[in-house]
Symmetry: C2
């Protein structure tokens, strides 16, 4: 019992191979009569066309690649879920390719992937999106590319993104509206342009509110729990500690919470903590964390849509973000600007 081929189908249906192919590929110029015969035969034989043969003979492979160098399981999972869903609907296959942006073999790896699998398109997530040599390789091969949240060469490829500057501005403005004047910021990993964008939004909101920027309140993080905790320890040990800390990711926000707890600082009584949800993590484990919700899965949908519908055409799509206030929204007790919490 070997697999059914297009030949078997044509025999059973009593038509030529080419006609079967036409039906399969939804080409025009097929009579309903023929179409029906073919469809019956396909169903009866439980026939599935060989992707390998299709790829070899045709111009398309029905496969796209998702290239990432991102250590966050939640990010990757949601990205895959979004892109994968669209691929399934379009009868495409998604090939996952993790990579290492510091590896000297990066460009070769990407080239090999495209060559071997004859990919029809590529989706990239930060920070690979901003590696010039990798981008150059893709351009050389003239393969359609959609980048998620690219930081550089914004007009070079199709892209999907949210407005990080505005999102960080929103959160900062919200904290200011609660009465905060000294707001700490834990920035993200330097590899990610989003980190700088969020810093910009933070400064922007401060300036609009007439609050001076204090570099001492900005602490570098790496997007992970540890660095969030370290940042909070440093910030809370300042002579004039912040009354609120805005972490550029939720894992760091969790670190801030843990450190505050360890140091006996009550949240939100003495300290308000805010995060930036790349990951849906807050929904799962910190249901009370106020956060910017960035719809990673939606970014995946949008990226796949751009790739599958528009192909070579360069297209751009911005998605909305949401400021989500979860759990207690009670502001910390009001305090005079510059005073430290009790």
């Amino acid at each position: 019992m070997t697999r059914a081929t297009i030949k078997d189908v044509s025999r059973v249906a009593g038509v030529s191979i080419k006609t079967v192919s036409r039906v399969l590929n939804k080409e025009r110029y097929v009579s309903d009569d023929m179409r029906q015969k073919v469809e019956e035969a396909v169903a009866r034989l439980n026939y599935h066309p060989s992707l390998a043969a299709r790829t070899l003979a045709g111009r398309r492979s029905f496969q796209i690649g998702l290239i990432h160098d991102n250590p966050s399981p939640y990010y990757i999972f949601n990205m895959q879920a979004g892109v994968g869903q669209r691929c399934r609907e379009a009868n495409f296959r998604m090939i996952i390719q993790p990579c290492d942006i510091n590896s000297p073999g990066l460009v070769d790896d990407i080239g090999a992937l495209i060559d071997q699998a004859q990919l029809d398109g590529i989706i990239m997530t930060p920070p690979v999106t901003d590696v010039g040599t990798a981008l150059a390789e893709l351009f050389r091969r003239k393969i359609p590319v959609v980048r998620v949240q690219p930081g550089t060469d914004l007009t070079a490829t199709s892209a999907v993104y949210i407005d990080n500057v505005q999102a960080a501005d929103d959160m900062t403005a919200y904290l200011i509206s609660l009465g905060h004047r000294r707001i700490g910021l834990v920035t993200g990993h330097a590899n990610y342009f989003a980190s700088g964008q969020r810093l910009t939004g933070y400064r922007q909101a401060l300036q609009r509110a007439g609050i001076g920027f204090d570099a001492a309140l900005v602490f570098p993080g790496q997007f992970d729990f540890q660095s969030g905790a370290a940042a909070a320890e440093a910030l809370l040990a300042l002579p004039e500690p912040p009354t609120s800390i805005f972490a550029s990711s939720d894992e760091m926000a969790a670190g801030v919470l843990a450190a505050a707890h360890r140091m006996g600082v009550s949240v939100p009584g003495q300290l308000s903590v805010a995060g930036f949800d790349d990951t849906d993590l807050a929904q799962v484990v910190w249901p009370s964390l106020t956060t910017i919700r960035q719809p990673i899965r939606d970014l995946g949908y949008a990226a796949a849509d751009l790739l599958l519908e528009f192909g070579e055409t360069i297209e751009r799509r911005q998605l909305p973000h949401e400021l989500i206030v979860r759990g207690s929204t009670a502001p910390p007790r009001p305090m005079a600007p510059g005073s430290s919490p009790g």
Copy 2:
């Protein structure tokens, strides 16, 4: 500038196509002289063989499938990382196929995947591992299968697993050694055999310690945060609440922690909480949670090894688990059996 083919390589190297093929496939009977010429040509042309052509002409596709219906990002991420790593080393491609075990199309979807991509093998994770109809389809196609933590038909396919019974026993015994006599258990989702196995281990340890089993202390969960919190609320509201709660997953343990906190029960002063780490989540966000560490990534390595090295041969491999006590290990203050915490 079109892609290089094997023909181009043979021309540049000045040898026959077949000789190139031999070198590429590491066959014997090639002189070093030829080999070197070919390798040079390959490098110079930056040649990568077409997977489609290889698959079509040969017997193998160099692709394996990873089939899962599992909502845990951390589990999936680590599984993919493990399997993906091995695939890369062996020059195989990994195709991810999420599925829905309740979908009527499940069997057809799996069949279509195997047919279309001509997969060389399949790795499955729970709970798809235990869907009889899906397994039957795989057997019918005689495709090599490795299952991770299968609950049924244990000898039907290759498999990798940890001893869930022993792991739960270890944790329960540890809690008993701290002085606990009333230990709550939050079980896992009924779809997963591991849930039942962990219950068995729990009962086993109780019995060995001469502690009677109290069904009121066992509460059903779904492996997620919400059900962990709900379980803790119910357990802590008992007339004689437990002094310790063992949750069958770390997400549920987090829920337990959150509920305890909300109810004003101090941890670990009045309540010890333990988890079961399917997900590495504890490492990231609850560095102080005591947990059973289950090496998901290692399970991925082992599963891929079995598939790639042994193929059709049925092979079984058990991996060790670890009881990890993180953060404060101070036992809750000792109390008479049956007494409730202050």
